[in-house]
Symmetry: C2
């Protein structure tokens, strides 16, 4: 008996520093040797970025196995995005404002269905499919890294929002903080608890390191400023999760991203903050756990837009 | 040609001071003379409350027109609630903690389907059906009164949450406020912007009135403390709405409840606060409008749990 032909999805992930693509199979596994990456660098023009997308898509398509059928294309992109016209305006890619990403990708593979969503939503789909949120239907997937992003699955379905921007947990307010945010707000979670902002706060208190990795090492070595910095960001994460789960009645929150790995104690501080923050049983029950995804997570999530299409209503 | 028989829903609304019931028809209209009410008073025991429910249900059932068929029963109740066992624990009815409300109502009308949700969700369904949110699919319905409650419709479907408590907008944090909240938190929207809390803040600043109505009158007469109090609560409402719409990508927020009518300027302050709070186009686009429901709103919303059942997934 022959194996049926593969029906992979071509997944694309676009962030502040790189463009990646890969084929992802029906079990949420990246097809060997199909993953390709192009750096985007701070000097990249809009055309450079478009070329990078074109290039990684071509390389990935070349890895399509004989007789396999491309089921569709899933794109995860940093927000904000616009589902109406498939254009993207990632905060951290200033040369792309209203860039017609979905049209570009469509032109590379005519006739193949293309779905676009925010990267935070894709991560959440990946956690729900093959990660730490398996078996839960009310999920917030968070990424704590250069920024703070996220996505939502409520009642088993993704929540994209009509414009595609639901899940921006980084821009809800946390009480007791007045850090200015790039979005125009004050005391946004991202302005407090992102990796760079946590490092900047520690430096303002006299700590002399430079990166999240440095801060994690200092924390482990017992540096008191590093301890206060990580407690502060963990507390802010917990307060934001408490607000979100009070509003949304979540089962589980997964947290990935580089800065989420600074120390496991970041999670302890967040959990303690939730416990302090609310007496509602339904809010206190929320689980806050580390991501269980590999580095393939964002691509698996982008592929889930097609492989798990029934969870992704049209906007 | 005969009119088809009526298929009304028996709607029940339970709040901090009263129990109401009525028959609501398929167009969202209360059947004449079917609405009944019983006060619950601060001294009511758990049994008194149960008797009040039993009594208003019996009076309302007696109004069921000849040959009409009861389609079901919808109950809206102040939260928290527990959908798993149909029990309720309204914050402002302390004698009911884990009270089996759904079972009680079921025992009064055996064989008739009974659905229970939070009152804030019911209000939101009513705004979406016959009120200010008609034609929108991403809605937060708010009530600003003794407390601050709400409900959510996202992508055209209600979001109940697995325990039934999604929509508690009153307990998300607003930055820059440190008012203690009954839920155990600090700086919750409800602790700042409810009617009684706004009045209490004004009194702490030297104003001598006693009620939300007094405060509205003082505001209209140009009292400077009343002006600051209402601006403060409006600002907090706007900040909370900004957080919610940043996270959820809402189309419209409706605000009802007694204190929402203190002055139309409350809405202006809230809108100005949103505009100040965020530069994201998708968040700034949210409309903030007064409720368009009559006093029948909560009952119409409870009836919508059955009449509009396709919008209310099972939890």
């Amino acid at each position: 008996m022959r194996n049926p032909p593969l029906t992979p999805v071509l997944a694309i992930d676009i962030g502040g520093t790189k463009v990646e693509a890969a084929l992802v199979d029906t079990l949420g596994v990246v097809v060997p040797n199909s993953r390709h990456r192009a750096g985007t660098g701070p000097l990249a023009t809009s055309a450079n970025l478009a070329d990078a997308v074109t290039q990684v898509v071509a390389l990935t398509l070349a890895a399509l196995p004989y007789e396999s059928v491309l089921l569709g294309v899933g794109i995860g992109c940093a927000g904000p995005i616009s589902l109406l016209d498939g254009a993207v305006s990632p905060l951290n890619l200033p040369v792309w404002r209203g860039f017609p990403l979905r049209d570009l990708v469509h032109s590379l593979m005519p006739g193949v269905p293309v779905r676009l969503r925010m990267d935070g939503l894709c991560i959440t789909l990946a956690e729900h499919w093959v990660g730490a949120a398996r078996g839960f239907d009310n999920v917030m997937g968070m990424v704590v890294s250069t920024g703070v992003g996220g996505g939502l699955i409520l009642g088993g379905n993704t929540v994209s929002g009509p414009t595609g921007n639901a899940g921006h947990i980084g821009h809800i307010e946390v009480g007791g903080f007045d850090d200015p945010c790039a979005c125009g707000g004050t005391g946004c979670l991202e302005a407090v608890a992102s990796g760079p902002r946590t490092v900047a706060w520690a430096r303002a208190q006299g700590w002399t390191g430079h990166s999240g990795e440095d801060l994690g090492a200092a924390y482990s070595a017992g540096d008191p400023v590093a301890a206060r910095a990580i407690a502060r960001s963990g507390r802010a994460l917990g307060q934001a999760i408490a607000s979100a789960t009070t509003l949304l009645d979540l089962d589980i929150v997964t947290i990935g991203g580089g800065f989420a790995q600074v120390t496991p104690d970041l999670f302890s501080f967040a959990r303690a903050s939730i416990a302090l923050r609310t007496e509602f049983d339904y809010a206190r029950r929320v689980r806050v756990v580390p991501s269980a995804l590999s580095g393939d997570g964002p691509l698996i999530g982008a592929a889930a837009l097609v492989h798990r299409a029934s969870l992704v209503p049209e906007a």
